[in-house]
């Protein structure tokens, strides 16, 4: 049997023996795949052994296993529907996500977790010091802890990381506390035992305990007690009857433990009675210790939780620029869920596109010629892709016509009455030319030129035409990929339904009549003018802080020049540069951070060289000002700004400047201090 027949669907992956399956970062999948490579592959033969084939023949048959593409991520929507995805970005083999609108537990159903009973600190004066924990447990516990020699312990822990060491320290502290408390309790019990032996007036509780113990040793007493219980008498009535009935016995017991002053005293107790009292005290201390300890842990947990909450709220505000609130938190969670959902859909879409791309891969026959049906498919695909742009352009022109007809403003008027108006508008302006500007652009593009050329040589059988057709097919395929990429790029302007496209485009494109680049260029031109005011053509950027003689003109944002005296030909302070306008740009177009790619990646950067000009967009310009300011302040000693330590020091301020949460000048000044503080 042909082994390929065992592949049951087109998405199954063929795995040849001993071949490693490409992984996609999915742990479960990797584990499965590892298993697949280690266990004998499932083949037609392994399930249904052909008795006619020899072991050698069986060995020679290519072994194939199938791995179904199965969804590993499911989104549960609020309306009860679910959507499954096969996502390589899901870290678990089976990821279940609630949709952004899905409310797992409704607010009204939320119940605060009940507080455990008896979790309150012990306040009884005689016991609170015994069970209430120790402030300096180490000194009490030390003699009882059989620790390894300190030197030995240090040696053992030398190779551990900070987190492990922290864990060990916490364990040590907890152990010290435990032992110290036990020691304290043990001492208290010992002391109690001693006081009993030395003669201690019994409390009412102790007396009652001994009396009950004594009376219950008589069978007649317990029988009577049970009898009264069965009669359903109340406790008070029963006690009166019992007391009357066993008065003699009770009097005898009382006399046995009374001292010469008539007090109930432990000095007259038997050994057995002393033991009863001691055990009872031991149980009581133990029970109170448990209660107090639980309450302390609860308090500690509450305190830690409150601290964590405070810290979280603080971090939240720093990160998002708004105070923490339940609503803000929910919005953020919703946003994250929506982002995740969007990524899943996008991933699925991209996968489909790749599959489509695979579909149109031209098949080349033996003569190296692209099959006619594939050629046709490629041309059709290009047209389809370009059609998206044309349709959009057409819709835009249609909208424009509506401006002229008074429609699109919510004014309801009869169609027939306005017919001529519309006809006039459409007829004059756009008949046959809807979306023409875009269509014209497309028609002038390489794709159309190639398609036209392709049509002219379509029927020709000579080798040259065939070769050219193949060449064009490949080029068109390349163009199709580019169009797909551009369609994806355009999706970046939709802003996830935030309505950013229109408003932001206008802002970004027109900016009140002056575009961003122009604005920036104008700013730079202003700078050059300002620095050009230096006497004798001297430039701050090139001359640094030293000027041989005379005065230096300090550039300002307004372009005015302030005269400043220079003492002994040396400027004592670097020229003050305001508003990010006149920064000496000694660093050039890029700044080499001196980091490895891994280090840059750790800092969340995309590369190791940072753009310092408009080539890097608005961020590039901010970076330019930021680094040039630092470089200037460090006396052009660029090496001080390079390397991982320096990068770690200035990175938060660079990010603050780029994100706009801090002015560039302020950020640079902070960064300078951070760099200067480095060892």
């Amino acid at each position: 049997m042909d082994p390929s027949e065992v592949i049951i669907d087109s998405t199954a992956t063929k795995v040849e023996p001993n071949e490693t399956v490409p992984t996609e970062g999915n742990d479960t999948q990797q584990a499965e795949e590892k298993q697949a490579t280690n266990t004998p592959p499932v083949t037609e033969n392994s399930n249904n052994v052909d008795v006619g084939s020899t072991p050698e023949e069986t060995k020679n048959i290519p072994q194939i296993i199938e791995r179904d593409s199965r969804p590993n991520t499911t989104i549960y929507n609020a309306d009860g529907s679910t959507k499954s995805f096969e996502s390589s970005s899901s870290v678990s083999g089976a990821t279940h996500l609630a949709g952004a609108e899905y409310e797992i537990l409704k607010e009204e159903d939320r119940q605060p977790s009940p507080k455990p009973e008896n979790h309150s600190r012990v306040t009884e004066p005689n016991y609170k010091d015994i069970v209430g924990g120790q402030k300096a447990p180490k000194s009490i516990a030390e003699p009882y802890l059989n620790n390894v020699n300190t030197e030995e312990r240090k040696k053992d822990r030398k190779n551990l990381d900070e987190a492990d060491l922290f864990g060990i320290r916490q364990n040590d502290q907890a152990r010290s506390h435990n032992v110290a408390e036990l020691v304290n309790m043990k001492e208290a019990i010992k002391e109690y035992d001693l006081s009993l032996r030395q003669g201690k007036n019994l409390t009412e509780e102790e007396y009652n305990m001994l009396k009950n113990y004594h009376l219950r040793s008589f069978r007649a007493y317990t029988d009577k007690e049970n009898y009264y219980d069965k009669l359903g008498l109340s406790k008070d009535d029963r006690d009166v009857l019992m007391k009357t009935h066993f008065e003699k016995t009770i009097t005898e017991f009382d006399n046995s433990i009374k001292d010469e002053n008539g007090n109930y005293n432990s000095s007259n107790c038997t050994i057995e009675q002393l033991q009863i009292l001691k055990d009872a005290e031991k149980d009581k201390i133990s029970s109170l210790h448990y209660q107090d300890r639980s309450a302390r842990q609860e308090e500690s947990r509450d305190r830690n939780r409150r601290e964590r909450e405070e810290q979280y709220k603080k971090d939240f505000e720093e990160e998002h620029g708004i105070p923490w609130s339940v609503q803000a938190e929910r919005l953020l969670q919703d946003k994250n869920l929506l982002t995740r959902e969007r990524d899943l859909y996008r991933e699925a879409d991209e996968k489909k596109e790749v599959e489509k791309e695979d579909d149109v891969k031209p098949e080349v026959n033996k003569e190296g010629e692209v099959k006619p049906e594939d050629e046709k498919k490629i041309l059709t695909n290009i047209e389809e892709r370009e059609k998206v742009f044309m349709e959009r352009a057409k819709k835009r022109d249609l909208k424009k016509i509506l401006f002229w007809t008074g429609f699109g403003t919510g004014v309801a008027i009869g169609v027939f009455a306005t017919g001529p108006v519309i006809t006039a508008a459409a007829g004059v302006a756009v008949v046959g030319t809807l979306g023409s500007a875009v269509i014209e652009r497309i028609s002038m593009g390489t794709a159309r030129k190639l398609a036209t050329e392709f049509a002219t040589i379509k029927g020709k059988d000579d080798q040259r035409s065939k070769a050219r057709r193949e060449e064009i097919a490949n080029k068109l395929q390349e163009i199709e990929k580019r169009i797909l990429k551009l369609q994806h790029i355009r999706s970046f302007f939709t802003g996830g339904g935030l309505g950013l496209l229109g408003g932001s485009l206008i802002n970004g494109l027109f900016m009140g009549g002056r575009g961003l680049v122009e604005t920036i260029k104008a700013g730079q031109a202003g700078n050059q003018m300002a620095t050009g005011n230096l006497p004798g053509g001297e430039n701050v950027a090139s001359s640094g802080n030293e000027v041989a003689t005379g005065q230096i003109s300090e550039p300002t944002t307004t372009g005015h020049v302030i005269e400043q005296e220079v003492v002994s030909g040396t400027i004592k302070t670097p020229p003050t540069i305001e508003g990010g306008q006149s920064i000496p740009s000694d660093l050039g177009n890029t700044f080499n951070s001196g980091l490895s790619y891994q280090q840059a990646s750790e800092l969340g950067w995309r590369g190791t060289n940072l753009s310092l000009t408009e080539a890097g967009g608005s961020h590039g310009l901010i970076q330019g000002e930021f680094f040039n300011r630092i470089n200037n302040a460090l006396g052009n000693n660029t090496s001080l700004m390079q390397g991982f330590d320096a990068a770690k020091a200035y990175n938060p301020f660079l990010r603050a400047a780029v994100s706009g949460s801090m002015g560039v000048e302020q950020a640079a000044n902070q960064a300078i201090q951070a760099i200067q503080a480095l060892p």
Binding site: A412, I413, A424, V428, T446, V517
Partner: protein, 174 residues
């Protein structure tokens, strides 16, 4: 004439021709989309690695103007390099000037049609059956249905006097 003055003049011209401030802003939105699409079409001529690099640098989900601006910058700079800003200005002015020209022609034709000018009537009558015009009429009809429907969902025959061409608003200094 500098770009700012040119842009302001175009705006004033459109306002004089009957555009309201709101419609002018809507027109700018259309222009913006058109410019982006044109830049993307021009980017088709660039190599795939450049587009991949561009894609990598774009902010995938712009949440503020800064990020959206960055995306626009990147696209125009990738498409036109140093000429990005110039190209952008040219494209916008071309779009606005074409619109002004089309508006003037349309307005003139409608006015002549309403005055009973035979040439204008002939021009309009001859264009009536053109597929593009039919498409526009269909779209308008759909919008009209959306705007004027009774509870039964049937289209009402409105006898409201048709709105003339948007009336020019007095020139204002914005």
């Amino acid at each position: 004439m500098d770009y700012n003055t040119e842009l302001e003049n175009a705006k004033q011209k459109l306002l004089q021709l009957g555009f309201t401030e709101e419609k002018y802003n809507q027109l700018l939105e259309l222009a913006a989309e058109e410019l982006i699409d044109r830049a993307l079409i021009d980017l088709q001529e660039k190599d795939l690695p450049l587009l991949e690099e561009l894609e990598k640098n774009l902010v995938a989900e712009p949440t503020n103007i800064e990020e959206a601006n960055k995306n626009i910058e990147l696209i125009f700079v990738s498409a036109y390099g140093e000429q990005a800003e110039l190209k952008r200005q040219e494209m916008l002015m071309e779009y606005l000037n074409t619109t002004i020209q089309q508006t003037i022609t349309t307005k003139d034709l409608i006015e002549r049609y309403q005055a009973g000018d035979p040439t204008a009537i002939a021009t309009i009558e001859s264009s009536k059956d053109h597929p593009d015009v039919q498409e526009v009429l269909k779209l308008v009809e759909e919008q009209s249905n959306n705007n004027v429907t009774n509870s039964g969902g049937e289209t009402e025959n409105s006898n409201v006097t048709p709105e003339p061409f948007p009336q020019p608003v007095p020139t204002q200094n914005y």
